[in-house]
Symmetry: D2
Subunit: 295 residues, 4 copies
């Protein structure tokens, strides 16, 4: 028997927060008791059984600390980077940590870049299918990943028809990727680019396959039963395949000499890259079928 | 013999200011001695023979007052609304006020909405070609018309794929249109809309032609020799015809019963709707051929 | 007890057809047995209890004729204009024809322009709230309304950053609007424009209110209980309010002198303007709650 | 004394051809005698002193063969790939082949991808500044690079808000890049992506610097006097910096360990990537200042 849970969402006015409300509105096991902005006090979530934090990391830290003091602490899914490397939290990437997520008190929901990159890289690293060499992740993301706050470079006239790289060699998410996929940060080049779109993230990876590695077999073994990873082989995925869905699509091509592969992963940064993955985690934590409200 | 003039541009970091710099860079008769932001003091323009003000109206008023006190006041072209209804200034719409502009000390450059609407309406009113009835101007503009300042509704993610009407029955430019075209504000509906584009303004007008009025003949008489108005008859113009040019294109269709006409005017809000028209005015004031730097 | 029906969709590769498949995939009362292209033979739908036709009008006519000859003719929802003025069909606009739709054998699903315009105009006409005068509907639509077929003006580079009016005084949907709303075609100006967006339709109407007419009261009486019309009064709706939903939002402003009103209606042309309304009709025909698969 | 030349443009209705006409209209040394489509016979260019071919490669080959037979063969600038590896033509990249271009009878104008990549890579290879390792060029281009022909994936609704990689390991321009820059095709990964923009091309390169290599010094030596290459160092360029100009902008960052560098080059694919570079070549061939009509 599946329960209906009382939910609070903090940061409900941001892009990830609004997407959460949109998804939870369809969920038969979730009643959003409170949609709060980022300035609300944690007390406003009193009585909620689950709290989603779509808030800046410093706000998330304050909330988590406060909620732990309450008589009956709610279970928390935090969409910020605050707890992604904190052993007190479970990293909320179901494809790798499904079992631990089910019982977690605090889930650190992954970033959009990290989900795209890890989906491409982790199984290969796991299987020893990558030879030692530089790994490149050239990622392109829609603007909603940067949030709703006002910034000159997010003014419509500055971004329309534009494209740019940013945070080269300094993006905060590279360590998150390296840690989860088990690659050396020292030989991992991660370059995010801003696209003139609202949604969608496409990451193009360049790796050296290990001798004899069979990428298709590795991915099939890793994701063959996953509800939200679609393997497309040489039919490389594009943003329109995944936007407004919780899928992460994966395509790849190996160079004729076998010494390089291009791997493209693709997801909606607000869904599988944020709110959808959070709902997927909620489903696991709450005992609901994993795809509830996400199909 | 044509002179080269020393120019100062205030407000050079805004969209209209940057467009001015782009156009003046090509002008053989203009040397931009100073590109200033909106906070610069008028003294920074000392020595300039012409000053362009691409500044908010209150800044323009301060500058004009200060420049008048100088020993050798420069001639001023103001792109703000500050002086558009001020008899001390000449309204800088060459198609109507060319002679007066040549000798003006202060030119009030028209707004983008006003230029589009007046180009469509004024010759008809002049010629008695419109019968008494409501006049509708349903206008659609790119976002650069709203300026470079940060606003939530100009965030890329808010405007991309969006469209909205705004300032219905309260837009500050409706009186400017009514005054220049000679129509009754009371029966003039002006509705601006925001388009998900950076540039371009398309205005769709609905008028009742007077009995026997010949719109094509009226427009040919008014604009046949104009360098920057193109008459397209039933081949209605679109933004791509005019963007990055100083043209205002005009098309029209009369309903079979003769009792209504749709007139579409179209221009680049940053060029013919702002900086290009300012350069056109400069050319007239400076004795250069009217199309210099605008072809 | 609510049944699950076997469904065929013809024209499933077009934009409306794909949207239908997306919506029906979530519907607990619909099993899509066949997703067919526009060239499929009607026999391919054999056994279906409901057939959706997202096909050109001539294909729809062929299918309807063929399906009528079968032993157990399915009920048909046609998204093309083929049957919109045919008395053998029920015009599938639930807000006006809900009762008749429930029992219809053939539903003619309205066009996107017609739904937007009729939602704004019909209650006013019904209530005698519009005085005799020209009625203007200046409509702006995303490109998916023009279908997936290749056309030079729908090439990405031709439409991006562009906007244009088209089919002035000749659009095929003006009579559909006039017929449903009960207005005179002779004094109704309908001007469609193409927006540089994929989805969304915003229609700006200009009418003369009858003396003493209370638009808010008229709309509240007409739509107060409607699940998919949202009344927003002076907070004019925009595309982002309705895209990816089945809502038609309505806002309005009356000029201070009471002699003119601007009414803005807004919907997603692929949802409330096509596939969503078709599912709403299916729900009525099948006895499912009207919002099933549409929330 | 500089001459005015009679010009014919074949392929004048395509995107590169139209851009050529736009640029040549401003050129004091060029009179476009004939703007022809791709189906015109070479005889239509009779009398022209220069012929620009903005045509498919097979058309260019036919034209070049035919023009060589004429009594006074015109000098030809071909924008297609037909002659880019043909020793009978000079490769029209002024930064490398300026001297040879001046006297060329036939110039093979480079592709947009090749110009962006070669600008980044060639000086480094020349100077021995790249250590042996895989070189990655992850390139993102606006849709006008794919031409004006109708294709499903260039339909507005398919490309808006989309992004995709294409022709991985099979793009025809990789050999052109390898040949001009002097890199091994076997260890060069070139991945083009389609952006939802009309113009602009941004290429992100990943290379291993040779021990002690000083990229800034190498680029300064190579391009310090170039009129159309701008060195921006760590301020990485973006599309809006170069669109509608003939500049190729270059920025770079070296990883802290010195073992990898990211180099971003950026240009307008229709200007420096096609028509602007063709005019630059014309200026060299005709003895006009190199920036004529390009500033």
């Amino acid at each position: 028997m599946m329960n209906n849970y009382s939910i609070a969402v903090a940061g409900a006015t941001g892009y990830a927060g609004r997407e959460l409300l949109r998804l939870l509105a369809r969920h038969p096991g979730a009643t959003v008791a409170a949609g709060l902005d980022s300035h609300a006090a944690p007390a406003a979530a009193a009585g909620a059984e689950f709290v989603f934090l779509a808030t800046p990391p410093e706000v998330s830290r304050t909330w988590v600390a406060a909620l732990r003091q309450t008589a009956r602490p709610p279970r928390v899914i935090d969409l910020s980077p605050a707890f992604r490397d904190d052993p007190a939290a479970v990293y909320g990437w179901p494809e790798k940590h499904r079992a631990a997520i089910r019982n977690a008190a605090l889930v650190a929901n992954p970033g959009c870049y990290a989900t795209a990159a890890n989906t491409a890289l982790w199984p290969l690293v796991q299987a020893g299918a990558i030879a030692p060499a530089e790994i490149v992740c050239d990622a392109k993301s829609g603007a909603s990943g940067a949030g709703r706050g006002l910034r000159q470079d997010l003014h419509f006239c500055e971004l329309e028809a534009n494209c740019k790289a940013y945070h080269v060699y300094e993006h905060r998410h590279a360590p998150e990727i390296a840690a989860q996929s088990g690659i050396e940060l020292a030989s991992f080049a991660f370059t995010p680019h801003l696209l003139p779109t609202t949604r969608g993230l496409l990451a193009t990876h360049y790796v050296r396959p290990a001798a004899g590695a069979d990428l298709a077999a590795v991915y099939a073994a890793a994701y063959g039963k996953e509800p939200f990873v679609r393997l497309r082989g040489g039919a490389l995925p594009e943003l329109n395949d995944v936007n407004f869905t919780n899928y992460c699509d994966l395509g790849w091509k190996v160079r004729a000499d076998g010494r390089q592969a291009v791997i493209v992963s693709c997801l909606d940064n607000l869904v599988k890259g944020a709110a959808g993955q959070a709902v997927q985690n909620f489903n696991l934590m709450a005992g609901w079928p994993e795809a509830t409200a996400l199909a």
